[in-house]
């Protein structure tokens, strides 16, 4: 089985956005960059499938991004068990999801993967789009927001989260899954494996190599806007908790008018 894992490097979840007023640009220079947390579930799932199926299963991490993404690729993909990586080098850093999906489609079609794993969402743009678009463009089945995945030969049974429950989806490979927390517990890389990861093959590609033009965007971000400032918190000062609770109930009813 040939497995592709599509990964992205994102600012870590502690990142603070310093934006005083609406602006056409966002300063991203001070961000600490990490593997997108949902992509760690995708990487782990691929490795577990390889461990189950044996060595003729090959796991390739695919990433579109600049040189700096290689740190995450080495530490969080190759060092934990991906066999190789492909990096598409065109400048597509803040490209929209469909542009990314079109480039990934060219890679997936060239190499013919049986299984493609993505994160359910990148925690910077919060799009939740790329994986599903890639499945559509590759004419594959997909299941999004997967918390459980089983294979029986080429047939899969995937469980995905929906409001108030779950959906169990069945189908056959080739297929794409977007991974959600709960699917597995990603392993951590060991120091020796991080050292060895440097020796695993990394293929560098451009859109031109893939025989496509750099896809054009259908959307444009015109403005970045800081969240509306909240007023001061009104602290209910009352030594007696029961009285404070009554006061709060009254404020919610009469001032906020929400209960």
């Amino acid at each position: 089985m040939k497995i592709a894992v599509c990964v992205k490097q994102v600012p870590d979840s502690e990142t603070r956005i310093n934006l005083a007023e609406p602006s056409a640009e966002l300063d991203r220079s001070g961000f600490t960059r990490v593997l997108n947390p949902y992509d760690a579930y995708a990487v782990e799932e691929a490795i577990q499938i390889k461990e189950k199926l044996g060595d003729d299963t090959e796991v390739t991490a695919i990433i579109i991004g600049g040189e700096q993404v290689m740190e995450s690729v080495k530490k969080d993909c190759l060092a934990v068990g991906c066999d190789k990586a492909i990096r598409v080098t065109d400048e597509l850093d803040n490209a929209e999801a469909l542009q990314i999906a079109k480039v990934l489609t060219a890679v997936v079609k060239r190499d013919g993967y049986d299984l493609v794993l993505c994160g359910k969402q990148a925690i910077d743009d919060d799009d939740s789009q790329v994986g599903i678009m890639l499945a559509e463009l590759c004419d594959m089945a997909h299941v999004s927001v997967v918390t459980d995945l089983e294979f029986d030969g080429n047939n899969f049974t995937a469980t995905r989260e929906i409001e108030g429950g779950s959906e169990v989806v069945k189908g056959a490979t080739p297929a794409l899954f977007t991974c959600q927390k709960g699917l597995n517990e990603p392993r951590l890389p060991s120091l020796p494996n991080i050292m060895k990861a440097g020796m695993k093959p990394v293929e560098l590609l451009t859109c031109a190599d893939l025989g496509i033009e750099v896809p054009a965007a259908h959307t444009e971000i015109t403005t970045y806007i800081p969240p509306a400032k909240r007023g001061e918190c009104k602290i209910i000062e009352n030594e007696d908790p029961a009285a404070a609770a009554q006061e709060l109930a009254k404020l919610l009813r009469e001032e906020a008018k929400i209960i």
Partner: protein, 323 residues
């Protein structure tokens, strides 16, 4: 003169409230700028939806009625909505940013090769559409302009208020979903409900959440009891989900659910940046925490600095005794 199509999501025949919120908002745009609002309904029978869609402001309701569209199937629904779009050319297709809408929108936009904007909170029209949406888990917002002829836009539930319904009915039309020859590559074999009757957080008007301050799993009952009197959903911080005290479906935050209720009550939650990411767009936030320096108070509208074991049961009683 924009024509705006609104996908009316149904489960077991019942339409989601977010559909009416979108229709209501779309109608304000077309009243100001011309054009029409079209409801698009897929299912095994049309039910009352023409009357309902009309009362919220839709000019027309387009239905595709087919046994195979009774429940959600990503490929069949994509084909059906794409068929509708190629026959009617809407300028915008709105759908709820729900489990279904988030799954359908990207597949549809990829098929139509058009703009796709997820999880948005506002839509404006002025010489073209501008969509506002949070990024970085709500630490920042963006305004997005659409450059393609049509666009698929997901709308976060509760982003638009619902006005009073009118008495109009939408003109009922049907369309061919074009699914005749399509054999989907994946199918939904089963839909399981995890918690009978529990209020879904992403749709809830009120949420009561508990964090590590509740001290042990059993005390989550206290959160549930307060939620009970408010008809609220119950949320949780990641700390108590990871501890196994409550199921992940309750987790609010960057790696949990993003919620925007009218009222969010955080009990024994410190207010870590990843938790705030999931709930800071709530209209009113109440923090109950014994540490007056907890960051949650920076996000809160009202705060009580005290032991939650005293305050939470007292609040339940105080709310019950409001008339």
């Amino acid at each position: 003169m924009p024509n705006i199509a609104v996908f009316i999501e149904q489960r077991d025949g019942e339409a989601k409230k977010v559909a009416w919120q979108m229709i209501n908002h779309a109608r304000k745009i077309t009243d100001a700028s011309g054009g029409e609002v079209w409801g698009v309904f897929l299912g095994k029978d049309a039910g009352n939806n023409a009357a309902d869609a009309g009362s919220w402001g839709a000019h027309k309701l387009f239905t595709a009625i087919d046994e195979n569209l009774a429940g959600y199937n990503s490929e069949l629904y994509t084909t059906a909505v794409a068929s509708f779009c190629s026959a009617n050319n809407p300028d915008l297709v709105l759908m709820g940013a729900t489990a279904m809408g988030k799954d359908l929108a990207p597949r549809l936009a990829a098929r139509m090769d058009c703009a796709c904007v997820s999880d948005s909170i506002d839509v404006n029209f002025d010489n073209g559409f501008t969509i506002r949406r949070p990024v970085f888990a709500g630490k920042c917002y963006t305004d997005v302009n659409i450059k393609s002829n049509t666009a698929v836009v997901g709308i976060r539930p509760n982003s638009f208020n619902l006005d009073q319904p009118g008495s109009d009915s939408a003109t009922a039309e049907t369309f061919d979903p074009g699914i005749g020859g399509v054999t989907p590559k994946a199918t939904v074999a089963e839909v399981k409900a995890t918690s009978g009757g529990a209020i879904e957080l992403t749709e809830a008007d009120v949420i009561v959440s508990g964090g590590r301050g509740i001290k042990e799993a059993d005390n989550y009952k206290m959160i549930e009891e307060l939620a009970g009197v408010l008809n609220a959903g119950t949320g949780a911080s990641r700390a108590i989900v990871d501890a196994g005290w409550v199921d992940h479906s309750h987790q609010v935050g960057q790696t949990g659910k993003t919620v925007s209720p009218n009222l969010y009550i955080a009990c024994g939650i410190s207010g870590a940046i990843q938790h705030l990411a999931g709930m800071s767009s709530s209209k009113c936030i109440v923090a109950i925490n014994k540490d007056s320096n907890a960051p949650i108070f920076k996000a809160a509208t009202y705060g009580i600095v005290a032991d939650l074991f005293d305050v939470v049961p007292a609040l339940k009683e105080a709310i019950q005794s409001l008339d």
